[in-house]
């Protein structure tokens, strides 16, 4: 390949963490004005590689050439100035600042003297950026008050606003629903037209095949394959990623609904949703579908006692129960995988082991005393079942890759063998191989007579797994669809009805 046909080249990049070789002599060439997908299992090293590019880690081996020039970063600022920007997998925003302040952070328009911020100009720039991506958000809202999808859109807006030559997107779509993904595709197409190289990391292969021009597959820190998208198919890619052939992603299931286990009657919470009623049967997988902000997360939080509902009733096994706290919910046999693993999911500074057993310590303790042996056995089982990749179950969970963190949250919910499993974006950031495992597990649980209520923005997942789909729009149920009616198009149509 000729020199000017390569904006960025990685040569033999290696990086180790204590106990883990995260990257092992990775060499990749990126061409201008292309979308280059980087895929691989959870923990393959994708995010680490991108953080090196971005100047977050400076202690790596190997070379990075930007337009033929060797890049020696001293930090993030240099990377930004060299024309590289990034959307991080774990969103990086200042929660108590507004959307506008976050968007312009680090490059506010300011006077020369005293660096006084020009508020009017800042406002103008913000509005321009939001318009550019068609994001309808009040610039003065605080980031912490947005939902995950909205935050992700803000981060996307921010990353493309640097006018960088290279935009790295580390799972930008992981909590976006169909509608926003479309918008993202549009944005990426525009970038490509402007000659920008997009490095796109995603576990959603259909997206990769739609958007990307080239793909590089990583496994265990090594490049195991690279190709033009036009010359390869999904099965090959999956085989490269997981190192084996994968049969059906979605398990075959026969629907055998048992008695009603959870009923919701006219449930409502001010400002989030209202008059929501449905039944959940044993052995059933039901999805809550809707656009961003439709109220799915809020319903699940109320069911699990994380928020209070101010209207309606919840019945478990036909009996009305007050659910005032997660402890109540757990006692009633509910389990939760929350949408946001950073805030409600994990305790980052504790070990993987402690995180998995946190809500079910009674399973491995005698009275108040924890049995380490039993705990280890339980944890090893879950780690095996979900293929969680970690050098040791005592590794700090914050050091795991994003997908493996998500699996840890799932492991915790499953460990208690709940009768009703509430899953909010359960496969967020999880690789295809592991997704298949999780779907298999969901199938098995349903088969065992458990009930699953899932909220997911990934329509294929909703369509592929659900026995029934409850479609929400603006906090109200618009339609309940049975399996045979639940096509992607039908769901979307009802989600946008209003």
């Amino acid at each position: 390949m000729e020199h000017k046909n390569c904006v960025l080249e990685l040569r033999d990049v290696s990086k180790s963490f204590p106990g883990v070789k995260a990257l092992d002599r990775v060499s990749i060439r990126f061409r201008p004005a292309t979308v280059h997908a980087l895929i691989g299992e959870n923990g393959a090293g994708k995010s680490t590689l991108m953080k090196i590019l971005m100047g977050f880690y400076t202690d790596y081996a190997g070379e990075i050439l930007l337009l033929g020039q060797r890049l020696t970063h001293a930090g993030v600022r240099q990377a930004l100035e060299a024309g590289i920007s990034m959307i991080h997998q774990e969103l990086m925003y200042v929660p108590h600042m507004t959307v506008a302040e976050n968007l312009l952070l680090g490059r506010e328009p300011a006077s020369r003297f005293l660096k006084r911020i020009d508020r009017r100009e800042a406002r103008r720039q913000t509005q321009q950026l939001l318009n550019q991506v068609g994001l309808d958000l009040e610039p003065d809202r605080l980031m912490k008050d947005l939902n995950v999808a909205e935050r992700q859109m803000v981060e996307i807006t921010k990353a493309i606003s640097y006018h960088a030559k290279i935009v790295i997107m580390d799972e930008p779509s992981s909590s976006l629903s169909q509608h926003e993904v479309e918008r993202l595709c549009g944005i990426i197409a525009q970038l490509k037209d402007r000659g920008v190289t997009v490095i796109y990391i995603s576990h959603r292969l259909e997206e990769v095949f739609r958007i990307a021009d080239e793909v590089t597959v990583l496994r265990d820190g090594r490049v195991v394959g690279a190709a033009r998208v036009s010359e390869i198919d999904a099965d090959r890619v999956i085989a490269m990623m997981v190192g084996r052939e994968l049969a059906d992603v979605f398990p075959r299931r026969t629907r055998r609904p048992g008695p009603v286990i959870l009923s919701v009657r006219n449930l409502g919470r001010k400002g989030a949703f209202h008059d929501v009623s449905f039944d959940l049967h044993r052995g059933e997988i039901v999805s809550l579908a809707g656009l961003m902000g439709a109220g799915r997360t809020e319903i699940i939080r109320c069911l699990f006692g994380l928020d209070r509902y101010d209207q309606g009733q919840i019945l478990v096994n036909g009996k009305e129960v007050p659910i005032r706290s997660p402890a109540d919910a757990l006692r009633l046999g509910l389990g939760l995988v929350s949408e946001d693993r950073q805030t409600t999911g994990l305790v980052p500074c504790l070990s993987l082991r402690a995180n998995i057993t946190l809500s079910n310590l009674d399973l491995c303790s005698w009275g108040p005393i924890v049995s380490w042996g039993r705990e280890e056995k339980l944890v090893e089982r879950m780690v095996g079942d979900l293929r969680i990749k970690s050098p040791d179950t005592r590794e700090m969970v914050a050091n795991l890759s994003g997908g493996n963190q998500q699996k840890a949250v799932l492991a915790r919910a499953l460990l208690g063998e709940p009768n009703v499993l509430l899953l909010d974006e359960p496969t967020r950031g999880i690789d295809v191989g592991a997704k298949a495992e999780i779907y298999k597990l969901m199938g098995r649980l349903a088969h065992e007579g458990k009930a699953i209520l899932m909220a997911s923005s990934e329509l294929p997942e909703v369509v592929g797994m659900s026995d029934r789909v409850i479609v929400l729009s603006s906090g109200a149920v618009t339609r309940q669809l049975d399996r045979d009616q639940a096509s992607a198009a039908n769901i979307l149509r009802n989600a946008m009805a209003n």
Binding site: E81, V94, E101, K115, I117
Partner: protein, 317 residues
């Protein structure tokens, strides 16, 4: 309303509503119980008395906003007071010298704090606790354990003089407050202080020199402590090596009462000033009512907790 968006981060009047109510209630009770309380004379008195604590509190607001803490303040007041005093004997140096020496001494200590915290990744609590004993030792060594007295009248004027009938310490406080309010609300530096405290990783990912911001915050904080040290030395007309013991706690208390979060990223100097006023008014009022000093402590503790409860209630209504 371009002036005020819904930014509880650096707080508008609404946010301090609860605190203002608590403050008003205290003033009401005090003025009923003691006729001497609600006089212009006494208002000046209270302001003058809080000036040192409030200057320190405004300074440590920067540090706390970045998510740090500074426990060395009290010792910095002592060492800079001693330093300034040694250059303030009559007919030796012009007034600018002791002032410069005191403030620069503070800034230097702050830079050291900041470097230990950022370069060597020592927790701010430990770094500044270490500095607290080092600076105290320094003050004692410099002064030989004795007050440095016999200071020039011009120097003593700083703490005891008035301009247009307003005591100079109050004017200094007003300047420090207004400038800091401007810096924190209007400049990019201020914005970065909030960002570093709100989410350091995110600030770094936005290309902000987070280490630089922190070092600067510690430097400003200790520099203002140096200023406070000068005011204090001048007010008591001596450089006192054992001055300022536990001033840091009072200053931090004012900051936290004022609604600034110790985990960083949320708060304002306006809140800090209100917090310092609340403490100062309480001290003054309880003295005026001649409450026995044992009971004073109990009452003071209860009122501070009560005011904060009221404040948090109001805010989360």
């Amino acid at each position: 309303m371009p002036e005020h968006n819904i930014v509880p981060r650096d707080g508008n009047a609404m946010q301090k509503y609860g605190l203002v109510i608590a403050f008003a209630a205290i003033c009401a009770v005090l003025s009923i119980r003691s006729p001497a309380f609600l006089t212009p004379q006494n208002a000046i008195n209270v302001l003058r008395q809080i000036s040192i604590n409030a200057i320190l509190a405004v300074g440590v607001t920067y540090v706390i906003l970045t998510g740090g803490i500074d426990l060395s303040l009290g010792s910095v007041v002592a060492v800079t007071g001693v330093l300034a005093a040694t250059f303030a004997h009559p007919d030796t140096y012009p007034l600018a010298v002791p002032i410069a020496v005191g403030i620069l001494g503070g800034v230097l200590i702050g830079v050291l704090n900041g470097l230990v915290i950022t370069r060597f990744r020592v927790a701010p609590f430990i770094a500044t606790l270490g500095m607290m004993t080092i600076a105290r030792g320094g003050a004692l060594i410099l002064s030989g354990g004795r007050p440095v007295s016999n200071l020039a009248a011009s120097f003593n004027f700083i703490g005891n003089g008035s301009v247009l009938r307003i005591p100079i310490p109050i004017l200094i406080l007003a300047g420090v407050f207004l400038v800091s309010r401007f810096i924190l609300r209007r400049t990019t530096f201020g914005r970065y202080v909030y960002a570093v405290g709100g989410n350091e990783e995110a600030a770094r990912a936005s290309g902000i020199n987070t280490h630089g911001i922190k070092v600067a915050s510690y430097a400003i904080c200790a520099g203002l402590a140096g200023l406070a040290g000068i005011v204090q030395a001048s007010r008591i007309t001596t450089g006192q090596p054992n001055a300022g013991i536990s001033y840091e706690l009072d200053a931090i208390a004012a900051v936290v009462i004022g609604g600034t979060s110790l985990s960083g990223g949320i708060g304002s100097v306006t809140g800090t000033l209100l917090g310092a006023l609340l403490i100062g008014t309480l001290n003054n009022g309880l003295d005026l009512l001649n409450v026995s000093s044992y009971y004073q402590q109990v009452v003071k503790g209860l009122i501070i907790i009560g005011a904060v409860i009221l404040d948090r209630r109001k805010r989360s209504r």
